[in-house]
């Protein structure tokens, strides 16, 4: 478990001295039972994953609620597989970027671009590769699905870790260097603990975000390749195809149960535990709590079993760096020379890669297609902007109202986060039914689906911002009896602005990603389509038209990058400069 630093076994120091206290207590029973259950489930699920590929065709998805726990398990394992992959990626890539200037030069812009590529874009191009890796086993398809989920999770985690590493507190860095900590120990003692709170939060966000792409990554249809992996996503796809309302409801219920379970058994304990890593020297007023964490803390046997493991981790022999520093060979001029050469090489490779992509696309795609794609991109862009504006008009006042009332904020905040985790695509069939029944224009009325799942980011960020408004400023507003408009202009809006920008930025990115799923919705044989870049990519994917998929994805990335650079980043910088409360 990667979150565990060697220090987590500090609980119950007294226990060290009293031998009889090694005996398990009732908390051990609870914890052992739960941990044992999870272990059995993981082994079972892993065995299933390795069945022959033919098994998928002989045993299609059955909409029988008795099978649902099994499907839910498979889905959960996939998501956690992806999370582990993301963590591994984060530790490797973000660390490299933070430690090496040359690597940073390549990795950071690359992450920025990868972030803007729609998740489903990756799936199209990788599924054949992964199936090729394990032609006879389900494992290949599993890996393709896990990879797709990974692409929905990894980038923001890597960014968060990189930022933490770049902002390590200077004095702690000096202590570590002065004592000559090895890189390995430094990672466990300084870097990982410092980065943990932000990383945990980002991991939770990633987990929430990836539910949305579950249906697409489990029920894969790329050209002639059609695979349906056992899981909640596939169940949902089949249920929608068969117009089975009850089955959709079952799937929604199962998702809810899974989300609550991993939230209670995994994320809450981790958040409660990670609270000690928050970098501040004063005690916080309110500590996050978790019943399962309390159970784990009170266990005796487990605490003692954990200690040797922690000790082992800490003592992995890594050669110690020499205490005495030597003058650097060459000096700064040569170092700069290397930098320039490296930069030139990177630029050359980038140009070569761009040319290769253009050549690949231009073999079958004409300039006319490209112009069309850009036009469709503009349509989707206008949808995204209008929807963000609409969602802001609705959620900002509501969020402020909630945030200014601590009792409400406390209750609503987890609900909003749950809603953000909840895959909005299960509601798409309703939209199709309504649009068909009332003969609405799908170009307009399919659009709200894009923001259905992402609007909550605006809400809970605004709630957090309003709740964080300093009390003295609110009191000043009260003393001078500020009129409501003045109160909004001078107190509330500046106060929540940085939070709002964060929320709107996330919502905007999510909406672009969602457009591929949201601009095409179906219920049974009924299929509605809105004209836009999302449906362009979705159609090209279904037809197995790779050059057009590539074109669509490239155009969407360009749009997202331009929107980020021209709107969100300047807003972010502006709010950092003007509205920081400190």
């Amino acid at each position: 478990m990667v979150f565990l630093s060697p220090d987590r076994t500090n609980f119950g120091l007294l226990a060290r001295f009293a031998r009889r206290r090694f005996a398990p207590n009732r908390y051990d029973l609870v914890a052992l039972a739960l941990i044992g259950l999870v272990a059995v489930l993981i082994v079972h699920g892993a065995q299933e994953m390795n069945l022959p590929l033919a098994n998928l065709h002989t045993a299609p998805i059955v909409l029988d609620p008795a099978r649902l726990p099994e499907y839910a398990l498979r889905t959960t394992l996939r998501m956690f597989g992806a999370i582990f992959a993301s963590l591994f990626f984060t530790f490797a890539v973000a660390t490299l970027a933070a430690k090496s200037r040359k690597a940073e030069l390549v990795i950071i812009p690359m992450l920025d671009i990868l972030q803007s590529i729609p998740v489903l874009g990756f799936l199209t191009f990788t599924v054949t590769f992964f199936i090729g890796l394990f032609p006879t086993s389900e494992l290949g398809v599993e890996l393709a699905a896990i990879f797709a989920i990974f692409t929905a999770q990894a980038w923001n985690m890597a960014f968060s870790f990189y930022q933490s590493l770049r902002t390590l507190p200077g004095d702690l860095d000096e202590v570590s260097r002065q004592f000559g900590l090895t890189p390995w120990r430094r990672f466990w003692r300084l870097e990982l603990p410092f980065a943990t709170p932000a990383l945990v939060w980002n991991t939770m966000m990633s987990m929430s975000g990836s539910w949305f792409f579950l249906v697409a990554s489990e029920a894969i249809t790329v050209g002639k390749t059609t695979v349906t992996l056992p899981g909640i996503g596939s169940w949902l796809a089949v249920a929608i195809d068969q117009k089975n309302f009850a089955a959709v409801a079952w799937a929604v219920g199962a998702m809810g149960v899974v989300i609550v379970l991993y939230d209670q058994l995994l994320f809450r304990p981790i958040v409660a535990w990670a609270d000690k890593f928050r970098f501040e020297q004063t005690a916080s007023e309110e500590e996050p709590r978790s019943w399962f964490f309390d159970v784990l803390r009170r266990t005796r046997l487990l605490t003692h079993l954990g200690r040797p493991i922690a000790a082992l981790l800490a003592s992995i022999p890594v050669p110690r760096a020499p205490r005495v520093s030597f003058p650097r060979v060459g000096g700064q001029r040569t170092a700069r020379g290397f930098d320039v050469a490296w930069l030139l090489a990177v630029i050359a490779i980038t140009i070569w890669a761009a040319l290769a992509i253009i050549r690949y696309i231009s073999r079958e795609v004409t300039l006319h297609d490209a112009v069309t794609a850009f036009g469709l991109g503009a349509l989707t862009l206008s949808r995204v902007l209008v929807l963000i504006a609409l969602a802001s008009v609705i959620w900002v006042p509501l969020g402020v109202w909630i945030g200014l009332r601590p009792v409400w904020a406390e209750r609503i905040q987890p609900v909003a986060q749950f809603l953000a985790a909840f895959p909005a695509n299960v509601l798409f069939p309703m939209a199709v039914i309504v649009i068909v029944a009332w003969r609405l224009n799908p170009n307009i009325w399919l659009s709200p689906l894009m923001i259905l799942g992402t609007q909550w980011y605006i809400l809970f960020n605004v709630v957090a911002g309003a709740a964080a408004l300093p009390n003295d400023l609110k009191e000043v507003g009260g003393i001078f009896h500020l009129r409501s408009w003045q109160r909004w202009r001078d107190l509330i809006l500046p106060g929540i602005f940085p939070y709002y920008v964060t929320g709107a930025l996330t919502a905007s990115g999510g909406s672009w990603n969602a457009s591929i799923v949201a601009e095409v919705a179906s219920w049974g044989k009924t299929r509605l389509e809105a004209v836009g870049l999302g449906s362009f990519i979705a159609n090209a994917t279904a037809a197995g038209d790779y050059p057009r998929v590539a074109l669509g994805i490239a155009v969407m990335s360009v749009f997202v990058i331009i929107l980020n650079r021209t709107v969100w980043r300047p807003l972010y910088a502006f709010s950092e400069r003007h509205f920081r409360l400190d």
Binding site: N10, V175, K276, R323
Partner: protein, 441 residues
């Protein structure tokens, strides 16, 4: 730069020897900021040596060079081990900000250095508990730093530095983040441990900007000049321990050090880039106009009546030397006061200022600002000459950076902006980083 760690042959040989140390921050060429030049230092067993100087005198850089945290541009540093039963060796450091890991308990924090040296868990625990006990924190082994007061946190920092048995303890302004009472208690406790020989260390080298603290604790004080940092005086403190602050000999020594620290450096500037010249390239310290006014008022009022000893002022106003001296310097620069040896004397203009009302004060301040601060006059002239009466601040920032490093240029411009605003000789707009003549009034 060479750095070696070796065992000495004789017990009275120097523990730390610094020869010809030079350090340039920033770019490798001549454009960098020269912080240390030709610094020599010898630390012998059984002494506490204080490094005293204003901010920017490179004393922390020297300390960090000895700790191996910074690789100086030139010069040599030798750290020697002491022979003996307890194999004390190397250096260890106490930080101004305590630098405790908030996610580790007191015990784990103390064990950090031992862990890095590969000491076994049992031995680690034994030694860290002993260190915690020595420093008076037993009972707090399992506390996290956030549960401790500032003074207790610094005790943890001290225990962490001592537990690795260094021969030299380096301390970087160890008491300056503490309140007066806590700092005094900790100083006394440390001196007690030192005089009773209960700490494994052989010598202490501490950086401070508090003159009284240096006189109270040190056997020898090295006074640094700033820009660039050089040792301008070495003072032996022969007063017997425990020293009393009110002892006339103690006071005389403090006064003497004040005088040395305010003395203008003699000799030609060695680096035109970093040395505060008298023209446009004069580096200014951002001192608030409120502080300047307050100091003028305090000096003008009885019992001083326009003249006071710096040490007395510092004591009365509860200011450290590195807080007081920039104020005195700025007053002198604007001809509001003159520094004569250890005393600060108000000028006629300053006495007028002290009795004036706000508008009159602003007028006097503006006159002096334009007359004696070349940068302020320069900005005003440019604004007057331009038809639009506006100029981007980057223009002046670039001009300043021809003379000094980016940081100094930033602080200098900040100082002029704040003084110019008070004197109402120009306006500055933060939003678009520009100066203008338009007066908000």
């Amino acid at each position: 730069m060479t750095m070696t760690l070796e065992r000495p042959t004789e017990s009275n040989e120097a523990l730390v020897e610094v020869r010809g140390l030079k350090h340039v921050y920033g770019k490798g060429g001549g454009a960098g900021l020269l912080v240390l030049e030709d610094v020599n230092l010898t630390l012998r067993p059984n002494e506490i040596v204080g490094l005293l100087g204003r901010s920017g005198s490179g004393k922390s850089t020297l300390l960090r060079s000895i700790a191996g945290l910074i690789t100086p541009t030139a010069g040599s540093i030798r750290v020697r081990d002491m022979p003996g039963d307890d194999n004390a060796h190397g250096v260890s450091m106490v930080f101004q900000s305590f630098a405790l890991f908030p996610w580790l308990t007191v015990e784990k924090n103390v064990e950090l250095g031992l862990e890095a040296r590969g000491v076994s868990a049992v031995e680690r625990r034994k030694r860290s508990l002993a260190a915690i006990d020595l420093i008076g924190l037993d009972g707090f082994e399992n506390a996290y730093p956030k549960e401790l007061s500032g003074g207790m946190r610094q005790r943890v920092g001290l225990a962490r530095a001592l537990v690795v048995q260094p021969s030299v303890l380096l301390m970087d302004e160890p008491f300056s983040a503490l309140d007066v009472l806590t700092a005094e208690t900790l100083r006394t406790d440390l001196l007690d441990l030192w005089s009773e020989g209960r700490m494994p260390i052989r010598s202490i080298l501490m950086v401070t900007h508090n003159i009284e603290e240096a006189v109270l604790m040190c056997d020898r004080i090295l006074v640094f000049s700033s820009n660039p940092g050089r040792v301008i005086a070495e003072i032996k403190v022969d007063l017997p321990q425990p020293r009393k602050r009110l002892d006339p000999a103690f006071r005389a020594l403090v006064d003497d050090i004040y005088a040395r620290m305010t003395a203008r450096p003699s000799g030609p500037p060695t680096s035109p880039g970093a040395f505060p010249g008298m023209g446009l390239g004069m580096a200014l310290t951002h001192v608030s106009t409120n502080t300047l006014s307050g100091m003028i008022e305090a000096l003008a009022a009885p019992p001083h009546n326009g003249k006071a000893e710096l040490a007395t002022l510092a004591n009365e106003l509860r200011m450290d030397a590195d807080e007081l001296l920039p104020v005195a310097d700025t007053l002198q620069l604007m001809r509001f006061a003159e520094i004569e040896g250890r005393t600060l004397r108000l000028t006629v203009a300053a006495k007028r200022y002290a009795n004036a009302d706000v508008d009159e004060r602003k007028q006097i301040f503006a006159q002096h600002l334009l007359a004696y601060v070349p940068l302020a006059a320069h900005i005003r002239r440019v604004l007057d000459d331009r038809a639009s009466h506006q100029a981007p601040a980057t223009r002046f920032r670039d001009e300043l950076e021809d003379f000094m490093s980016e940081d100094y240029a930033g602080e200098t411009l900040d100082a002029v902006v704040s003084w110019g605003r008070f004197g109402e000789i120009f306006a500055y707009h933060e939003d678009d980083d520009r100066f203008s003549l338009d007066d908000p009034a």
